[in-house]
Subunit: 344 residues, 2 copies
Amino acid sequence: MASSTKKSVLIVGGGAVGAIAALNLEVGGLAHVTLALRSNYNAVNEHGFDIKSCDHGRVQGWKPSIIRDSIPDITKESLPPYDYILLCTKNIPDIPPTVVDLVTPALPRINTHTTLVLLQNGLHIYRPFLESHPQTLVLSAISMIGSEELSPGKIIQDEGDKLIIGAFPNLNTNPSTSAAKCFIKMYKNGGKTDCKLGEDVLHDRWRKLVYNSALNPICAILGLDTGRLRLAADGEVVEHLVRPAMQEIVDAAKANGVLLDEGVVQKMIDADPLQSYLSPSMLVDVKKKGNFLEHENLLGEPLREGKKMGVEMPTIKMLYYMAKGIQWRTMEGRGLVEIPPKDV
Amino acid sequence: MASSTKKSVLIVGGGAVGAIAALNLEVGGLAHVTLALRSNYNAVNEHGFDIKSCDHGRVQGWKPSIIRDSIPDITKESLPPYDYILLCTKNIPDIPPTVVDLVTPALPRINTHTTLVLLQNGLHIYRPFLESHPQTLVLSAISMIGSEELSPGKIIQDEGDKLIIGAFPNLNTNPSTSAAKCFIKMYKNGGKTDCKLGEDVLHDRWRKLVYNSALNPICAILGLDTGRLRLAADGEVVEHLVRPAMQEIVDAAKANGVLLDEGVVQKMIDADPLQSYLSPSMLVDVKKKGNFLEHENLLGEPLREGKKMGVEMPTIKMLYYMAKGIQWRTMEGRGLVEIPPKDV
């Protein structure tokens, strides 16, 4: 059972990001973690996680306080509400279930207790909750972690866990920073990670998009990690694809009132050490055939925001429709779309 | 030995295109074919070709008059010059050897006898021969065949062989149409194929680029055949990627004085029957990891021609640099580029 001084945290999704968050929270000693797994439940239940982490070292056979193979339905199971629910799944609005449908059973019917923390990419991912759970405080967690699940339960983290936490705007809850600060204290308590308050969530999310909207899809489409991408064709791929895509995000942010720091494009191009040869998540998803892409949040949403303000985004637009094509291919592979039979 | 009434034809490259050309020429009875093979030489030498063709039916254990595992050096081997050399390899100027280097040993030192026929894609592929072999008559062969080599020597042709033959411009040879007409007679003689004279090579090559510059790279990048591409994301991929790319080729052609027929874009979008689910060659190349792409001729050359005339080609430009990235990946896979070691 959770000690009364600990906060109860439900983490949804125990892949490369969720597992490290679970480990880090339990190492900190201020959280009692329930981790809801899907595809890797059996592996983790049997053998625990096998984690090789630049923050935590080698951790073998480890499990958080509670693991589950589904999201708890707290009403049916008569469970007390969680203090925090940390969403670490992919956020893919074009493929059901939506994150709202996923998390609703774990929230009280009318929720003012549980704070949602969206450790997911993209610009306006809180908006669906404004409609479904208008009284729920929703925090943004922006992660700069580099980690990958090599096989079920086997995780390698080769870039330090750095989180920026802040409250998404919500006129109903008038969010103060106290819930964010409490989460940060809990997350930092193990002394292994960098977790800080972001005063301007929208700014921080646009800033991360500079990396994610460009490097994620381009690496995925070309089958190159971020190191190789910089080396490819003597840097021409960076100059003619990555840099223009990043600049379009900077321009769209600016048109939406978000001024990013001078030089952010070059900083993001150089963000990953070249010789680390890191694979952004979308490249991992494409390589693991069958994984869906988060292109609606990474490309579609900034494209729509830019378009509203009249910003031309030809590179982002092309990447968006390419990602749509790849998503359709995955859907067909999974039997989610039917096509006319081949003429023989 | 070749009968004296037959023309001697050397075909370089016996993949999906060259093998069907060899078969068709020998079926016609007016040509004595020498076929130079590389990767599939052993398979064909041992078992012959296994061809399933919509033009020729099932042909098993078939070989042309002569097969070779290399290009003949006619000087060293004291061979008479060929009447025609038909180049059916990929044309990839960024990866050695160049087609000029490839074919030079099979041409007389000062050649006025042998007619070169380039059965290859792209706009200005004759230009390197103007410098290296200024007296050589070079014909353009534009093929609309749909065929694929499933495994070495095993070929399936599911779209009829249609050739358009014409002479590339050359101020030295003042090419008449007689060599082209002679080749057409020889190629059509079996009655199985459609082979006709193209009076305007440049027009015909730009026209084929409408298909090749758009569908080839987009299918390759997305991993979708032309049927699935039309179905993907309810047609959005066609509308936002394929149609703009094709229109840019039409615009660049126009700026270069080549007026393509009204409606050519829609015709090319619909060119392959949807339910045939045909794979353009570049998609086949990407799937068979390790094959190089013809992006310099299909994308680079029209892009440069468009740029000269001030035509904006944002879609073609992006496709070009994406193809460059994929080419670099293939080069790295083949050990043709070195990268700094991974930091551990």
